[in-house]
Symmetry: C2
Subunit: 310 residues, 2 copies
């Protein structure tokens, strides 16, 4: 599959006419026909229904058209961005973080970093904890904020704080009536929903480990891809779900939350960075985080801070 073929196919799909598409592409019609045939052959799929005019797309063709058009636009964007970055010569600093930290300290930290280093282009990429390790080693990100502990020779990690967990109930569930903290033991025999399903190990495994340590066995375990889906299923009454306390602002009108009583029921926020640049900006970031924690922002209420004062 080549970009050329996709570009050609998009033109044909848009025009529903080979000859006009060929004109637009500034090539003759026969080579265009051939490229489309080759594409169909490689995929082993008919993309066009040629039996009557105007041409129509098959289901597979419709899908490929839709996706390819999006992708080609994205490639143009990547090309322009690459040129722009190449010209600007500005240094970039990229933060990788799990979604839940965006409800916590990341926005505030980025604000402080922009003040500290106005000449730096700071960007954020949402990614799973596992992905952060390889992204760090490959240089795709410069620091990571995740929830799962990993050991890697090249990557150093630092636990910033331990965030308390809460249980999400569907509105009206008998155990959701009390607002008091709940013991994990009470989840015995309840259907449970965990996330994310890929990649493993993940927050899902931390939760399952926590429960098995306490000998709590759910009636069933359903895995979903992300927290929104998990809370959607909770709201639909499929089961319960355990999430970090800071994420409980979501879906307030059809999901109820109760803090978990057990002291050990926490999930860490872990900062990871390459050992080789441990003494560059990383030290100053640690300092910014200490200052931020010292200001005691609202999302920090439900955490035990680990990062010591300097």
């Amino acid at each position: 599959m080549k970009l050329r073929q996709l570009r050609y196919f998009v033109a044909v799909a848009r025009e529903r006419n080979f000859s006009r598409a060929a004109e637009i592409l500034h090539i003759a019609q026969p080579p265009l026909s051939r490229q489309i045939q080759q594409l169909e052959e490689e995929l082993g799929v008919n993309l066009l229904d040629r039996s009557k005019r105007p041409l129509s797309l098959t289901e597979a063709g419709r899908y490929l058209y839709e996706q390819s058009a999006k992708m080609l636009a994205k490639i143009d964007h990547i090309r322009e961005q690459t040129r722009r970055i190449g010209r600007s010569q500005r240094e970039r600093f990229i933060i990788g973080c799990v979604g839940s930290t965006l409800y916590g300290g990341i926005p505030d930290l980025v604000r402080r970093m922009r003040v500290q280093w106005p000449e730096l282009d700071i960007e954020i990429r949402e990614m799973m904890s596992t992905e952060q390790v390889t992204a760090l080693k490959e240089g795709r990100i410069d620091v990571g904020f995740g929830r799962v502990r990993f050991n890697d020779r090249e990557v150093e990690r630092l636990t910033l704080r331990e965030e308390r967990l809460v249980v999400a109930f569907p509105k009206g569930h008998p155990k959701s009536l009390s607002k008091e903290p709940i013991a994990l033991a009470e989840l015995q025999g309840e259907p449970l929903i965990v996330y994310p399903s890929v990649p493993r190990p993940s927050f899902a495994d931390e939760i399952l480990n926590l429960l098995s340590e306490l000998s709590v066995t759910p009636a069933s375990v359903e895995e979903v891809r992300e927290i929104q889906a998990a809370l959607g299923m909770v709201a639909a009454g499929v089961g319960l779900c355990i999430i970090p306390a800071a994420s409980q602002r979501q879906r307030p009108d059809d999901v109820c939350y109760r803090m978990i009583e057990d002291e050990k029921a926490t999930s860490p926020i872990i900062m990871s960075f390459r050992r080789v640049d441990a003494n560059g900006r990383i030290d100053q970031i640690k300092q910014l985080i200490r200052e931020m924690y010292a200001d005691n922002p609202p999302w920090l209420q439900l955490s035990n801070v680990r990062l010591g004062a300097s």
Copy 2:
């Protein structure tokens, strides 16, 4: 820019070594060097710092690596999906809708459609109202649910209901203390945030039109790309924002909402479809929507239903 070049570049960026990358790609090293050079030349950007070993990526190279790797993975996915769809021969029905309808009737409607047509693969694509018109004409979607009225010869539209609007205040704003409905006139001289910034015309323009009809002029108008960003700025105290009532479940702990008093302060939910297949499944979808409205779900409370009984 060819896919081949991007694949090659990703390999080099990953290995930080031309020779090893060439081995992995099963080609000799000189052609690889040449492809990378051509890529750099086309972009007018240095992607690699070759002055010392091991090679390192420039900022532009780092960006291109990160983006290309993602994209190549996506292309593989598209190829496989296209094959799968081609083999399965199942009919697909694709719904395009604006994000806010996902908090409203779309999930319920999809559920009803799956019951009605179990043999159909139903998919959802989030897209702006404007985009729905072209997506319909190009066959990328089969029905659209949006908020902006468009006239197009090939597309028929049907107003399902008019949803009431609410004003979002930062917590603690003096006007947020009352829970009573607020008159739009009270927004005179307040800084306003609207979304989405692109493409126009959009919900942002509907809001601005509504205000100018009532001769209400905000102190300032800030445009942001999406509702999450808008509410983030509201929470940060940058200004106020007008959103559909169904979206007010977001950010309950740092944003307050007040219903708008004015009867005209509504935003429609508009269903669009191709005239040519107006009598296919579309009629049955209208029927399903009527049934759904008849069940009077909670998200419908704040709307005036337009779609008449059959």
